[in-house]
Amino acid sequence: MSKEYEMVIGLEVHVELATKTKIFCGCSTEFGGAPNSHTCPVCTGMPGSLPVLNKQVVEYAMAVGLATNCTINQNCKFDRKNYFYPDNPQNYQISQLYYPICINGGVEIDTPEGGKKTIGIHEIHMEEDAGKLVHDEWGESSLVDFNRSGVPLIEIVSEPDMRSAEEVIAYLEKLRLIIQYLGASDCKLNEGSMRADVNLSVREKGAKEFGTRTETKNLNSFKAIQRAIENERERQIELIEAGEKVVQETRRWDDNKEYSYPMRSKEDAQDYRYFPEPDLVPIVISDEWMAEVKARQPEFREEKAIRYAEEYKIPEYDIDIITSSKKLADIFEETVAICGNPKKVSNWLMVETMYLLKEKGIDADRITFSPKNLANLIQLVNSKAINGNVAKEVFAKIFDEDIEPEAYVRENGLTSVNDEGELRKAVEKIIEANPKSVEDIKAGKVKAMGFLVGQTMKEMKGKADPGSVNAILREIFGISE
């Protein structure tokens, strides 16, 4: 019978910070652009160029550290990590080893078993991103683009506290949410603004010693992370069962082929020769500065959830969805502030908004419509100026183009007809044209009334309130609610 194994997993999470400029120069961090169009002597390692630290990077790193219960290293420094690779223009990366900005933190996650667990954070350090190497598929060469070189990163190094892929995902989700709430990054795995390297070892359940770990890189989605973890677990167990040794190494995950392979080459000694960066001076973080950053902290998800339940009295399910994105939560709060009706606002966000997001394949934080227009739409529905179907149509327009609903409804003649006389006329016309349905209703098949409502709506070109039509029909047939 085979033995039972458990995994020990630690994560190194790289997060691209949402600064306007690079960490050590005034080049834009904007995505895209022609190769090397966002570069200067500093981020291309020109001889004689020198780095100057972007203050916002320190503030974002500090904010993430404070939000993840870290101790802020009030005297922190940069170090050089030396290795040769052409995407790294100086052939050293400016990073932090000896005095990282944040240490000894942790976040609480919900475990798959329904409990709570704290995942320790060993440290968070600041560093610069590398450029991109584009491999020419047919030619004999690769192309180097330094647009991403020098984009600021923080690396969040966890303790080896995770035991399953589910815990890993929960931890990443948690980090992502905290960082998004802080506005420090958009944390997109698929676009590389959040990257996770998985350190994993297996051991027999109950064993005290850790096994030999490997590091797996190139994980671009939660699914890839899940698959890579399962794959690596099996690979290591197979090795152990076969009496072989797990080699401590860095492996690269290929998500298409669903396997990993070692990255190490002969030319890569993995001896980074860190030493204090002489071109940058130490960072001294005063209590006041720390307090300032702390004071700017937003309300996080947990606090929001408690307040929403108390203040807006919306169901837990709604709260969960709305607070899953800072952007959604912001829109929710701003919309309610204009038009009240928290449950209605929540419905629009949970149902129509989520539907459109999914259909268009975009994330909630890319929503562009304004709370004001959603609030106006809700007010139009409440005042019965438009009916539900029209409202959905108008909302789709708001979602795409952020149009003003009142003007749009007016210009497109979508206002509901609420004139009792006009409605009654239309209903009577439909009754006359559908004797079969009338008979059915009289015979007790009340359901047939729905058909007449539909026909009336059609007659009114959709611009009637179905509730009012229904009421008139009931009155005519003497059917009570």
Partner: protein, 97 residues
């Protein structure tokens, strides 16, 4: 000579430094590095217990820039010294790792 530099060490340092030496140069490098290490081992005479390592000579700290874009597209200048260039990028021999 107290420090004997082995072939492996010179080989390893060559990998770190990305420098390839001929056999003759290797022998010379072993000798030079051994001599130099013997010489710098003189520091071992010195008691530095409890002395804080000094990387920066003056207590200057917190030198920052504001997060404002100051650089435009300087691609032509950046590429003007490139040994090989294609489509606005630096060209290097193909690499997979």
């Amino acid at each position: 000579m107290a420090n004997i530099i082995s072939d492996e060490t010179i080989e390893y340092v060559g990998i770190l430094a990305k420098i390839e030496l001929s056999d003759e140069e290797k022998e010379q490098a072993k000798k030079d590095m051994g001599n130099m290490l013997d010489y710098i081992d003189k520091l071992n005479e010195l008691d530095t217990e409890g002395v804080e390592p000094m990387s920066h000579v003056f207590p200057v700290d917190n030198v920052f820039r504001e997060d404002v874009v100051t650089n435009g597209d300087d691609r032509e200048k950046i590429l003007s010294n490139a040994p090989e260039e294609k489509d606005g990028a630096f060209v290097v021999p193909k690499t997979f790792d």
